[in-house]
């Protein structure tokens, strides 16, 4: 008997089932089809403006920095501000998200490089799929437009999130993701990012900048 067949048959013997019982099949089909939300956490159940404010507050509590920008056209200046304030060279690794395609970087001195990071970038910029107010969590989806390496290799992860994509809870974010990608379909990777990389492995003291970005800087584009 193959390992697969033997494992499944041991599970079924232990549970006292055959695997062909219709009520059990109906149960799991229904569970997956309806994906019940479970218990609602009150914290994020706010009017949208309150959710945006909560997202910023929670993200700052995880030691990310957050700024508001009025429109996408203001993103290059906000990036330039951040790089200058942190004494970083005017260089930026960036994906090709269409929402940031027409930006006028010429007004800044920033030198852009496109595509995935090879580990030699100090700062990178991706666009988030969403933000979740409940815990100040960014939701990044992998694609050619937003390469995953930009989220993890640069010391400074800069992220643009559109205020309209900020949800109160994870469950609302998942239904938005299903609406975009299709039921049961996922981007190759969905990364929840809640603050900068850290470790408590030495004497339980939390230190920032373990293997991922030392800093996370979020730019919230107003509605």
């Amino acid at each position: 008997m193959s390992a697969r067949a033997e494992i499944l048959s041991t599970i079924r013997r232990s549970l006292g089932v055959t695997g062909n019982e219709k009520p059990r099949l109906d149960t799991i089909n229904e569970r997956i089809a309806s994906a019940p939300r479970g218990l609602t956490v009150a914290r994020g159940q706010l009017p949208h403006a309150g959710q945006v404010a909560l997202f910023k507050e929670q993200a700052e509590a995880t030691l990310a920095s957050v700024v508001d920008v009025d429109s996408y056209q203001d993103v290059p200046a906000a990036v330039a501000d951040y790089l200058r304030q942190n004494n970083l060279p005017a260089q930026l690794r960036i994906g090709s998200d269409p929402r940031m395609a027409g930006l006028d970087w010429g007004k800044t001195a920033i030198e852009l490089s496109h595509g995935p990071s090879d580990g030699n970038d100090l700062a990178g910029l991706n666009h988030a799929f969403a933000g979740v107010a409940e815990t100040g969590t960014l939701v990044m989806t992998a694609s050619a437009d937003n390469p995953t390496t930009i989220n993890f290799l640069p010391d400074h992860a800069l992220v643009v999130v559109s205020a309209k994509d900020i949800t109160g809870d994870y469950e609302t974010m998942w239904s938005n993701l299903r609406a975009q990608y299709g039921k049961g379909q996922m981007p190759r990777v969905v990364n929840w990012v809640t603050g900068p990389s850290r470790s408590g492995d030495i004497e339980q003291v939390i230190l920032l900048g373990a293997h991922g970005p030392r800093r996370v800087h979020i730019m919230v584009v107003k509605d």
Binding site: R12, L15, G19, R24, A144, R188, W192
Partner: protein, 482 residues
């Protein structure tokens, strides 16, 4: 250590641990850190207790339909272009992983933190096959340099102090300036970051564990704070996930409920920094990510736990709260338990995986204070299951002869109440008279197991039974306090 369990030596291990000043200093960090952080973050979320119920119910539902959810999960991984492999035993899992590494022409393998990898002793197998495994979680990296096993399931190097890490880094990182300053923990972290960055970029295969497997989408999930798991699985051409079969949850909503109690119970964070949902290999248009995605599903005895008194243990989400709150773990640390899983969850799980004959001592390492169950995010009745193991151990005559004869000696008196009362009151009087000056004993014959570590108070009067009887007679409501 994982290949050669020392669970049989628990009592000797614990005795050595109690006498180890470095370990005792390090364990203070557990006592003070984890408990307060968890309590504070739980208090901030009014729904926390209800979410624990929800997490318990989701895991129970998943286990009751495990066969069907596993099949659905496999179908969805395959549809996303990934490969699912099934392993009955640790040996089968090692063979599958070595085969994938061989096909990938792997020379070095980076690894995210995985307790299943420890359980199957994967690093030793990779080494033997000429493949260099590189642990990338800071704690795992440190203990790999020391050739040690993790002493905690989420904080593998919690038994060490910074000065010990400094001397290991100086011993191993000989290419760096010998006069560099490593007196601050942040300097140790920065050095590990630099050393490991090149290893991430050079690795041929990345191996991670999985906190959850989602049947609805065929996704594997890892939860980390450092980002090492993400670099491990993003940069090499091949990503291998190794997960035990009880990691299955039905939907994304279900796992979101459980994630709300995981980090809060583990580190006292509202959410860990990185929670990553991976579904298959790099897509046609992608510019990064692994080209091959494999999942190895390990049984190793778990399927036989279903339908038994130990089924509830399969709900465990490996947060570590039980050991963080365990007075026995605080006293002896994780290595004393002698294998991969320490603390209360290890005391229950290890005998099922290794056999009660090898690990029967571990369920005895409990004061039955119940704190483990009171903090478990999926409400596993750990003390009850430890009692099951104690009964099994006693029934199979595996407990030591001294313990068995001690219990028989006690039972002889307990079955004869008059004799019991006479003997205990005689004892109380003698001990009360002998200890009348100091009020305590620092040594007692046959009781060094107690008095080596703390004083025994001298009796202050009659036995409990005689005092209860006297009180009952002197008060109108039969001895009960008004």
């Amino acid at each position: 250590m994982s290949a050669h369990p020392t669970t049989n030596r628990f009592i000797d291990n614990a005795t050595e641990a109690l006498a180890d000043p470095q370990l005792q200093r390090a364990m203070n960090n557990v006592r003070s850190g984890f408990i307060d952080k968890r309590a504070a973050v739980a208090a901030k979320l009014p729904e926390f207790e209800a979410l624990r119920d929800s997490a318990r119910d989701i895991k129970n539902h998943a286990l009751a339909h495990l066969d069907l959810y596993l099949e659905r999960y496999e179908a969805n991984v395959t549809a996303a272009g990934g490969h699912v492999h099934w392993a009955r035993t640790a040996e089968e899992a090692r063979k599958i992983i070595l085969g994938i590494c061989h096909d990938a022409g792997a020379k070095t393998v980076t690894k995210g933190k995985s307790m299943i990898s420890e359980e199957i002793a994967l690093n030793a197998a990779l080494d033997a096959a000429g493949i260099v495994p590189v642990e990338t979680d800071l704690g795992e990296y440190i203990i790999q340099l020391r050739d040690e096993a993790p002493s905690h399931i989420i904080a593998p190097a919690v038994h060490l102090n910074a000065t010990q890490v400094e001397s290991d880094f100086r011993r191993v990182h000989t290419h760096l300036d010998a006069d560099r300053d490593l007196s601050e923990p942040v300097q140790l972290l920065t050095e590990a970051r630099q050393v490991l960055r090149s290893k991430f970029l050079a690795a041929d295969v990345g191996i991670t564990g999985a906190n959850f497997l989602v049947a609805e989408t065929g996704s594997s999930i890892i939860v980390t704070n450092e980002g090492n798991g993400d670099l491990t699985q993003t940069l090499p051409k091949t990503h291998i996930v190794i997960a035990s079969l009880e990691k299955i949850v039905p939907t994304l909503e279900d796992v979101s409920q459980i994630l709300r109690v995981l980090a809060r119970s583990a580190t006292g964070q509202e959410m860990s920094v990185y929670t990553t949902f991976s579904t298959g290999p790099r897509r046609a248009a992608d510019l990064d990510g692994p080209e091959n995605y494999h999942v190895v599903i390990l049984d190793n005895g778990r399927s036989s736990m279903l339908g038994t008194a130990f089924q509830d243990m399969l709900r465990c989400i490996r947060c570590g709260a039980c050991m963080n709150h365990c007075p026995v773990y605080h006293a002896v640390g994780g290595h004393a338990y002698g294998w991969v899983y320490p603390g209360p969850m290890g005391a229950v799980l290890t005998p099922t995986l290794l056999g009660v004959d090898k690990a029967g001592h571990l369920p005895n390492a409990s004061t039955f204070c119940g704190r483990c169950e009171s903090v478990c995010p999926v409400r596993i009745p750990l003390p009850k299951m430890m009692r099951h193991w104690r009964e099994a151990e006693f029934e199979r005559h595996l407990s030591p002869a001294t313990m068995r004869s001690g219990i028989k000696f006690w039972a002889f008196f307990a079955k004869r109440p008059a004799l019991y009362r006479f003997a205990t009151s005689l004892m109380m009087n003698v001990m009360g008279w002998m200890g009348r000056d100091k009020g305590r004993f620092s040594s007692l014959p046959l009781a060094s197991g107690w008095t080596d570590y703390r004083d025994f108070p001298a009796p202050q009067g009659g036995t409990f039974q005689s005092r209860y009887e006297a009180r009952r007679k002197s008060t109108p409501n039969n001895g009960r306090a008004a």
